[in-house]
Symmetry: C2
Subunit: 727 residues, 2 copies
């Protein structure tokens, strides 16, 4: 009998590994349930108590899940029966009869509860909300619990941020700036006549993780975006998004009045300009009544802005806010500015801090998590906590511009949590970014959480199958910034790699042993994800190093990069400052004094070479090569060992993934395996490049117990990748 | 004081590492001696007792060494004094007075003794021989002992082989077939007018290790080689070589009578053809009276030969032998033939064995060490021991056609010793190749030892600094095939990397501690060399795998190689025979029966999967993937671990070499370091390519504790190196 089992087991593995899977389904995979508790069959019927656009989407999702989990059609009834699943809002009498109105009102129209309730004599389960939106999110929440085998009927949820928004850096020509997953999903040339089915899939995926807003176009915006022709296309997209509670936003070009409208100026204090924007807003809202608002990159990296006319960011943002105000729209004004003049990390603070309290209440300042630009690791931007009378929102980068594009497996949740959990000490201990940005410390009328999307037209949406986890994590943290990275990874893995182990439920013994192996494999995969950000930092730029990337495309290492005539702060040497003494940027009170932009006791910590955390050391300090680190090693040796640790960790990831082969479909297994191979080679490339280059300054040997470089510095310097800024 | 020492020590390291060295001096570096015992100053004067071409070379070498060791001119005297060093032959009365005439006569004109003697009342040291040649070799021997700090005055030496010969695969157009050290050192276009100084350097280097013959041109010979114009050029080279006891030989094209002489045929039994060769021989010897003879590749890989006329190898070889006989010339006739028809490894044996006893006594059959073609590891050719009435000579390949060209550090002495020490059992136990080829078992009138040169016009002669060790080892083994690889490596390292540690002899303490570090470093370098052949086999083709190289250039792995229309036995699949059952070529009695070409008990051992040595297993057997190896591992796992061991070993070599940095001049250090980096990358390439390809047959995972592949099989298959057959 054992032999038969083994043969059977073998067939399962073979047949399983042969079924290809391109990753297009993301985490929305409703596998046949293994237990009653993880299946929708536990409900006698589904009762949608009201009609509505979002409720229809919610019910459709349930139907699809039911059919995929059971192979049968979902039983639907009109009135509650014993053990029904009820969907409804406070509009409905049954829901109102439950006496949870006050609770639901507090949770808001997007919040919800999932409860076991007594309705008349019957025991039912209810997904209830003050609004349709909450029911939709509640349904996805229930399905997630079923998929992850963690069902609870004592659920009460509401989002951390009001606006949970993706920023697409997608251009009208179909290219995506910093996009590594193919061309744009928005088919501007086909719109509005042709509506790609991907728009609805996109909206559904976002809704499943609570994202409720999206900026369709690049912050480096074309004035043409606001042409009537293009707005009609936006209208068509917005109509699809609306079914999943997602509002469309647009990035605008500040010179639109001049470039598109034919005015002689775009001066924000000019009456014609103000009128042009009011009219344009009215036009937009006529087409798209639930339009969200504008995202603006102004006076940054060559883009136009109010300072071109001697005005300020306040003048520019408030003018747009006034135009949008009558329609309920908002302005997200980016603080990513660095006009030359001082240490680059200080510039955004210098520029914006002084305007605190001067922005309209429908303006929110969008601030990148760190003061430079989405580096593998940055300390938080000192604007957080410093602007007390201004709504701020974080801008995170989901697309891996600086983290190996779609070749490297890097789970960004860890980085984002590090940011959210950072204590600014702005209003005493515990003033975390997460509390600040949700308005718990200084009230904000609008709260928002933005992420630069990693989505493209590739079958698997994100280029790397594990990059889907970053989209997922962004949505989950926007919904609930108290979630742990571990929980998010756990959910994502269980939902994404939930291939059935056997087709025949009779083979209980085999299934059990498979399940044990699979659980231990997926646990290792989770650990890999959770350590992957630190690993990338280790092999790319540990100990506070930053921006030592290759010119323009930012893929590989170029700490030596020197482009004649380039802005100094676009060159790696500006940041690493390697010399015969040591390494790192002196931002102490003896240096650029960037430390003083932080509250005490951070400023004192960062200012002291012996107190500054290792992970930010070379960010804030120029450290002698022989400085004794906390580990007891010299800086040079610590650097060597850390780069090597990065390499060894990626090699461990390869082992972890290879062991997961029996539990993952063949296509995704092979594609991730191949990407990990690239990552392993790249990690060695990074290590060799940085150690061999910095060694020309340290003049010290790489510790002899470390695996030696396999490249020559000269040949690494000769590498010029043919990569574009746009994909 | 310690601080001062440290600083001083640091300066030595820095200044030392800055002095560049291009490797052109090979192992002939006479450093200032550290002790009296290792210096020529121990001799009061040098007395060259006779005149002669070779004695002049010997004396010049001593003068150069004296000057480099002491910075002073060597004291020369005409008559022996107390503590003189005397050089002389039996022609001289002083030597004759020593009563060692019989001993010297036994050692032959190339043998010698080095002794402390009493001459009249004086104590002297003598280098004596029956001929000038022996004195020259004796001088180099003495200098080697001084350089390696191993002086002895009880030396008695004579060569293992009469003809110790390099085969240059150099073409008249200056290219070198399988050459990886630049173009040919022979400047045919400048000759005979211009004599490159490199000819003399070449002759001196060869003489220093006992090489006394060289074939100037490629075995794939052009008929033009024998034109009068070219023979005049050969004459010019031969004149230079003669000063160092080196005879010139030429490879000839068997069709020369037709192609060059204008005859209608090259049939060896045709009277005109025979006459043509006799005349050509006479012409050659008129120009070059000490000309050595011809090397012939006939009826092999498309070259012409006697079989084109229905004649045999015997007919062809004997005709040439008859032409050369009057002048004392010999024919080296290659057994590297494999006309299609049977398992390739059997073909040379099949073709030649039947002619045993039929060749003239000035013919010697030149047989590659293994039955295929200079693979990283082969069992010995079964012709050795099987032809009992025919002179055989080994042909080894010094140039690394199949061993990483001039990029990989592979010390070939280990491979050659494995071959020389192999017991053929042809005349009972202990019938080693070394005894067979020196004529100890079956008498041979001529004995010879040939190596395909790795010499080119590069500054460092051999492309890789460590490839010089293979030239060195070849010469040393040709002189004395009983030397151990360890001794040869030890000599070579001490002679080649003997950089002075300090300029100031006063700093005794520092010198001592440096010496200890240096000794331990160089010991590690020696271990690296001694294990390097096994390492290359491990990462290229372990366990008896062979010929799974890339098409034509033979640099990287291409076990999948399939060229439409190619000879099957030029394709890797012919050799590895991978399939779903297992791996390897069945040459047992159930297969091609190549085993039967070996004597008992080898044939029975090789025929039995459980007895066949691991290192030859896949050469002789098609082994199931799950076969239990001697280690207890399955074949598949053993294969995986062995490839990985190869990779890890190269990484260890990198560590060893990096640690040697303080003790090696900067240029050679960096160049070897760079080559080791290539080798480390190539080892991973080999491992990935072979394991991923063979895995498509074994269908088994690579054991999970092994470092994972970093390449995809598809991308490895796409690699097409732009390398030529000629450099």
């Amino acid at each position: 009998m054992k032999t038969i089992y083994s043969i059977f087991f073998f067939f399962i593995l073979i047949s399983g590994s042969l079924s290809a899977e391109n990753g297009s389904k993301l985490w929305l995979r409703y596998q046949p349930a293994t237990t009653i508790e993880s299946s929708l069959v536990q409900f006698s019927s589904v009762v949608c108590l009201e009609k509505g656009n979002l409720l229809r989407s919610a019910t459709n999702e349930l139907k699809m899940a039911y059919s995929e989990m059971t192979g049968k059609e979902m039983p639907v009834s009109v009135v509650p029966q014993s053990n029904s699943l009820l969907l409804g809002t406070l509009q409905n009498k049954y829901i109102r009869s439950l006496n949870i109105g006050k609770e639901l009102a507090q949770l808001g129209s997007e919040g919800f509860v999932i409860r076991r309730v007594k309705l008349n004599a019957d025991s039912c389960t209810v997904i209830a909300s003050a609004g349709e939106q909450g029911v939709l999110y509640g349904v996805f929440h229930l399905l997630r619990m079923l998929q992850t085998n963690s069902c609870s009927f004592n659920v009460k949820e509401h989002p951390s941020y009001k606006v949970r928004i993706l920023n697409h850096w997608d251009n009208l020509d179909g290219s995506v700036e910093r996009g590594y997953a193919g061309h744009s999903i928005w088919k501007w040339d086909e719109l509005p006549a042709t509506i790609s089915p991907r728009y609805a899939e996109y909206a559904r995926a976002n809704a499943s993780i609570g994202i409720n807003a999206t900026v369709l176009n690049n912050v480096n915006a074309s004035p043409e975006m606001l042409s009537t022709e293009n707005l009609l296309k936006v209208k068509a997209i917005a109509a699809v998004l609306r079914s999943y509670n997602i509002r469309a936003y647009l990035s605008i070009n500040f010179s639109s009045p001049k470039e598109l409208g034919g005015l002689s100026t775009s001066d924000p204090l000019n009456a014609d300009v103000r009128k042009w924007w009011k009219n344009k807003a009215a036009e937009v809202y006529k087409l798209i009544p639930d339009f969200g608002g504008f995202l603006v990159k102004a006076n940054s990296e060559g883009l136009p802005g109010p300072m071109d006319y001697g005005r300020t960011h306040v003048d520019g943002a408030n003018m747009l806010a006034d135009a949008l105000k009558p329609f309920g729209g908002i302005v997200m004004w980016r603080a990513f500015v660095y006009e030359p003049g001082d240490d680059r990390v200080k510039l955004a603070y210098n520029e914006f801090h002084k305007f605190d309290g001067q922005f309209r209440d429908n303006v929110i300042i969008q601030v990148k998590n760190g003061p430079v630009d989405f580096q593998p690791r940055e300390p938080f931007s000192p604007l957080f906590g410093a602007m007390k009378k201004t709504a701020l929102m974080p801008e995170l980068q989901i697309t891996q511009e600086y983290l190996g594009h779609s070749n490297h497996l890097v789970f960004l949740s860890s980085m984002w949590k590090e940011f959210l959990d950072a204590d600014t000490h702005a209003a005493g201990d515990g003033t975390t970014i997460s509390k600040l940005t949700t308005g718990e410390v200084y009230p904000q009328k609008i709260t928002a959480f933005a992420g630069v999307a990693n989505i493209g037209n590739d079958d698997n949406w994100c280029g790397h199958h594990f990059a889907q986890a970053n989209w997922y994590a962004f949505g989950r943290l926007a919904w609930n910034n108290q979630l742990s990275s571990e929980q998010i990874a756990d959910e994502w893995i269980k939902m994404t790699f939930n291939r059935q182990l056997t087709a025949d439920s009779g083979q209980q013994e085999i299934k059990m042993s498979q399940q044990v192996s699979r659980d231990s494999c997926l646990l290792a995969v989770k650990k890999m994800m959770l350590s992957s950000h630190q690993t990338a930092v280790d092999y790319m730029m540990p100990l506070g190093l930053h921006h030592i990337f290759a010119w323009t495309h930012h893929y590989g290492p170029e700490p030596w990069c020197d482009i004649p005539g380039a802005r100094p702060d676009w060159l790696p040497k500006y940041y690493h400052k390697a010399d015969s003494i040591g390494l790192g940027f002196d931002r102490t009170t003896n240096g650029s004094n960037a430390v003083s932009q932080y509250a005490s006791p951070l400023k004192e910590q960062f200012n002291d070479m012996n107190q500054c955390p290792d992970k930010y050391l070379l960010w804030f300090q120029h450290v002698p090569w022989n400085f004794r680190m906390k580990s007891g090693k010299t800086l040079w040796n610590e650097l060597c060992y850390t780069y090597d640790k990065g390499v060894q960790s990626v090699r461990e990831y390869q082992k972890i993934w290879d062991k997961a082969e029996p539990f993952v479909d063949a296509q995704r297994f092979a594609e991730v395996q191949s990407k990990l191979r690239i990552q392993a080679r790249d990690a060695v490339w990074w290590k060799d490049a940085c150690l061999l280059y910095f060694q020309t300054f340290s003049k010290q040997p790489i510790p002899y117990d470390i695996e030696r470089p396999v490249h020559d510095l000269d040949s690494l310097k000769a590498i010029k990748l043919d990569m574009k800024h746009h994909n």
